[in-house]
């Protein structure tokens, strides 16, 4: 089948292709989710993975850290976790006789916040603030977080006892929310037969250095967005605002996020201009957690409805 490779393809994404292939070897049957996660990283956004335990949320986060050679920290969120446990604290050092700041796990390039909805809102907001500002302020002193800085938070579907679901305004801090879902039959067969994934991860060698990643992030931000694409995004947003399916439509910030993600996706596809298809590819993950369906349990119908939006808005 002849594939269309628009001439706009540059060489920028060349280092990405083997990386994607390696990732797909480890997490089987989840090509789209992997690509979305990488696009999220390229777009300098943060990622929320919402799914049942055991479908590979943590593996995906570790995999990203490995592949991009990022310094990895994992924080298991519990109800007694305190903000200082994440950000760090100033501790008295008897030897030097002074106070020293001991940075918390947030001072890493890739932070995995496992089961973020188990912690209290106060702790959650400490992390979310750090995500937004890319810096933390402890006792009046502002400390920048490392670059690149990427948070992957995982969350079990909200209807569990003893959790604090992220408020709607906080969900907005995540560029994308993806779901992994069960692997299909063939992929699962291979998974069960094959080698332990953790061992594979250990063997994995970084495919990229920080400089390349930062460069790719800069390039992603520079991908061209034509007026036609902006019009399409606007049409999508207008539809969510006027549709009776949604309680609230997409905000302008959501529109910006959508374009940011679409740029990264286009780069991943090897293009330096966004096509409507790129917007469509990331739309569900970007828009879903920012929409509230009219009636029903929150989070239940949104993915289906987001696809409905795509089906109903003509590409200009």
């Amino acid at each position: 089948m002849p594939l269309i490779k628009p001439r706009l393809a540059g060489t920028a994404s060349a280092p990405l292709q083997p990386l994607i292939r390696q990732a797909e070897d480890i997490i089987l049957g989840k090509q789209h989710a992997i690509r979305e996660a990488i696009a999220c990283l390229l777009a300098r956004g943060h990622l929320l993975i919402e799914d049942l335990p055991g479908v590979g949320k943590t593996t995906l986060a570790q995999l990203l850290a490995r592949l991009f050679g990022l310094q990895f920290q994992r924080v298991q969120f519990t109800s007694d976790l305190l903000p200082a446990d994440i950000i760090g604290a100033t501790i008295y050092d008897r030897d030097t006789g002074g106070f020293h700041f001991h940075p918390g796990p947030v001072f890493a390039q890739l932070v995995l916040a496992d089961e973020v909805n188990r912690a209290t809102p106060k702790t959650q907001s400490a992390l979310l603030e750090a995500m937004e500002e890319r810096q933390v302020t402890v006792e009046g002193e502002t400390r920048a977080l490392p670059e690149p800085f990427f948070v992957v938070a995982t969350q079990n579907p909200g209807s569990q006892i003893g959790t604090f679901p992220l408020p709607e305004s906080q969900l907005d801090r995540f560029l994308m929310r993806i779901q992994l879902g069960y692997p299909d039959r063939a992929a699962e067969h291979e998974l069960l037969r094959g080698v332990d994934r953790r061992e594979l991860l250990q063997k994995l060698r970084p495919a990229m250095d920080h400089e390349t990643l930062l460069d790719l992030q800069r390039q992603a931000a520079g991908v061209h967005v034509a007026d036609a694409v902006v019009e399409y995004v606007q049409a999508l947003m207008e539809y969510t605002r006027s549709s009776e399916h949604f309680h609230t439509g997409l905000s302008p910030r959501a529109g910006l996020a959508l374009l940011r993600a679409a740029r990264a996706w286009a780069l991943l596809e090897g293009r330096d201009a966004v096509l409507p298809e790129d917007v469509q590819a990331v739309f569900v993950s970007v828009a879903c957690h920012r929409l509230h369906a009219e009636g029903g349990v929150p989070g239940q119908h949104e993915p289906r409805l987001a696809r409905l939006v795509l089906d109903n808005v003509p590409v200009p």
Binding site: M1, P2, L3, I4, P6, R7, L8, H224, A226, A228, V229, R241, S242, E244, D272, A273, V274, L275, P276, E277, Q280, G295, L310, D311, N312, V313, P314, V315
Partner: protein, 664 residues
């Protein structure tokens, strides 16, 4: 289906305003709805309101179905049918009540509001008066404001949001309303022509007279007709409005008698011309009332033997006509070949005491004139009383009245006087109609009410023809000069408006009547006849022509609107790249591969190549160029031209050579 507590669809205030508006719409209907249905409406509205404000549960689908069937059965049992005005409106009200119980989404609310509008329309099947029209206008305003509120996604503030916008919308609808009012074809007679509905609640003179039936009518303040005089109205003593003339007498009841098919009686004009127009309220009979004695009239009528005017069909809607009457006339001076016997007929053996009285007088009196004067003097000399509440007469009514009770209303005096005259050998008949009328200073017209209903006597005199004699005037001159309210004792409790004592409520009532008269004249009187006149004046008399013109007008209006809309959104995009692409898509659609609206251009190209590998080269080149030009922001004019040229020479065949088309 959710049966649980409903999510708050509308803010409390809007819900409350909706319930209030619907109550206002159904309130006038409550007058004729079965009481149990009104109760259902109250209960369902309360239920829905509490569901909205307190989170009560709404009934589930099966309960609703059950309630619907039960209610429909109730309506059928109550009215005996589904069809007809009353049963139809009852069903509509029932549906509104039940729809409230399944009002869960915005769409349901909109349906409820539409039902409200429909109920507003049905109200006009019952009443078209000014007060009701004003009330319904208010409810339409409220409903429109609610419709806007419900359709807005923003949370409304205040009790009555968007009222101003609703008013603006209604003002904008005004020209259309006027056009429809003038041009929409009028149908003669009530639209809802169910026989059971027609005669209901209409008062008026009947075709016969027994002692007691006019005094019953006189209890009503209702307007019989209104009169506008071209000049000074006649004095009260001349205000005799002629109605049915009764000549057949069976000893108790006066009737018209069989019509004889002779030429109408001759009338000689002696002077005192009077021009005026009458707006007659529907009375469900064929009578057309006019001042004694009409000589010209603007509508087709027939004149019967008694010189009463009749229309061919009953007066079921308000009509207006112009009349010329002469106050001084000579009616039928020669009876010709008409048999005078019927005017002398009194059943054998009836009224023995009256016969004896008349025989006594006959021996005393010199001639018939003296006898008439004697009889009238009898009414004045004996203690006769004019009253609205005459005692019930059971035996020989005339004898009982003349010799025992002596208390009666106009029909007692007219009836017994006519009997006396007949027994004395003078041809006599009873004329019923109205006597009097009150000038409304506000609109400068005369109101004649049902309470002005009257009966008098006409005597035929050789050479002078039929002459009016009103025995009531001899008993109670006030009745003629001042009207009913002044003539009967206050304990009779005459209708309020017939008392001519000035008071604030009376003044207000007169002003209100004047307003109603304008409304009747300028709005309601515009019936089929007036429409026909107007259309003829506009050259649209023929209804086919009218429909053609209407259709043309509609076409022109819609066409103009369409042009405006199309101009605002040009179909051809300005961008040459997009134009070429749309052309390409059209070519592909022509061979059965249209682009789905939501499909991106690259996905579309991929699909095309998958389905038609034979076109791959062209499609790939075209789509690549298009994607580059449209999305990369780096296109050159040369590339644009190349794209347009490529599309222009691209002619895909319907089927690839040697390959079945993919969709079969």
């Amino acid at each position: 289906m959710s049966t649980g507590p409903i999510r708050q669809l509308l803010p409390h205030r809007v819900l409350f305003a909706l319930m209030l508006s619907l109550a206002a719409v159904t309130l006038p209907h409550a007058l004729h709805l079965p009481p149990w249905l009104t109760a259902i409406l109250v209960v369902t509205a309360a239920w829905r309101y509490l569901a909205g404000s307190r989170g009560w549960r709404l009934p589930n689908r099966w309960l609703l179905l059950f309630l619907t069937l039960l209610g429909a059965a109730g309506v059928v049992l109550h009215h005996g049918t589904f069809i007809g005005r009353d049963a139809g409106v009852a069903m509509l009200c029932l549906m509104l009540g039940l729809k409230l119980l399944e009002m869960r989404t915005r769409r349901d609310t909109v349906v409820v509001i539409y039902l409200g509008y429909f109920l507003v329309v049905t109200q006009f099947l019952y009443s078209q008066n000014l007060l009701m029209a004003g009330w319904l206008l208010l409810t339409v305003w409220a409903l429109t404001a609610l419709l806007i509120t419900v359709n807005r996604s923003t949370t409304p503030t205040g009790w009555f949001p968007h009222a101003g916008q609703a008013a603006a919308l209604m003002t904008q609808a005004l020209p259309l309303m006027l056009v429809l009012f003038v041009l929409f074809p009028r149908i003669p007679g009530p639209l809802w022509g169910m026989p059971e509905d027609e005669a209901r609640g209409v008062t008026g003179l009947s075709d016969s007279m027994t002692m007691g039936n006019i005094s019953e009518l006189s209890q009503s303040d209702a307007v019989a007709f209104r009169v506008e005089f071209a000049s000074e109205p006649p004095p009260p003593a001349q205000r005799y409005w002629r109605g049915p003339v009764l000549r057949q007498y069976d000893g108790r009841t006066w009737r018209q008698g069989e019509p004889d098919h002779t030429a109408p009686p001759s009338a000689e004009r002696l002077g005192g011309d009077m021009d005026y127009s009458i707006t007659l309220e529907p009375h469900n009979r064929t009578w057309i009332f006019a001042l004694d004695l009409p000589v010209q009239i603007s509508i087709p009528v027939s004149v019967n033997t008694g010189y009463a005017l009749e229309r061919s069909n009953a007066v079921r809607e308000r009509i207006r006509y112009n009349v010329r009457s002469v106050l001084d006339y000579r009616l039928e001076p020669e009876l010709g070949d008409r048999d005078p016997a019927i005017y002398l007929q009194v059943p054998e053996g009836s009224h023995p005491r009256t016969r004896a009285l008349i025989s006594g007088w006959q021996s005393e009196a010199a001639d018939q004139d003296a006898l008439i004067t004697r009889a009238l003097a009898h009414f004045r000399e004996q203690p006769f009383e004019y009253t609205l509440r005459p005692p019930l007469l059971r035996g020989d009514t005339v004898d009982e009245f003349l010799f025992e009770s002596r208390r009666g209303f106009c029909e007692h005096f007219a009836g017994s006087f006519a009997v006396m005259m007949r027994l004395a050998g003078i041809p006599a008949r009873v004329v019923t109609g109205y006597q009097g009328g009150e000038i409304n200073p506000v609109g400068d017209y005369m109101i004649v009410r049902q309470s002005d209903a009257h009966a008098w006597v006409e005597l035929w005199r050789e050479g002078n023809g039929w002459q009016r004699v009103d025995p009531t005037a001899w008993v109670s001159p006030e009745r003629i000069d001042l009207g009913l309210g002044s003539a009967v004792p206050a304990r009779d409790n005459p209708p309020t408006l017939s008392r001519r004592t000035p008071s604030l409520s009376r003044t207000l009532a007169l002003q209100w009547d004047a307003l109603n008269a304008y409304w009747d004249r300028w709005v309601l009187a515009y019936g089929p006849g007036m429409q026909q006149q107007l259309m003829e004046r506009l050259g649209l008399g023929d209804w086919r022509r009218m429909i053609t013109v209407l259709a043309l007008l509609m076409l022109l209006t819609l066409g103009a609107l369409a042009l405006i809309i199309l101009r605002r959104r040009p179909q051809r995009p300005e961008d040459p790249v997009q134009r070429a692409w749309i052309r390409f898509c059209r070519r592909m659609a022509a061979i059965g591969l249209p682009r789905r609206p939501e499909e991106g251009p690259r996905d579309y190209a991929r699909r095309l190549i998958r389905e038609r590998p034979d076109l791959a080269a062209d499609v790939e080149a075209l789509s690549r160029l298009y994607l580059h030009l449209r999305y990369s922001g780096r296109g050159s004019p040369n590339q644009v031209r190349a794209l347009a040229a490529h599309v222009a020479r691209f002619r895909p065949g319907r089927k690839a050579a040697g390959q079945a088309s993919p969709e079969t």
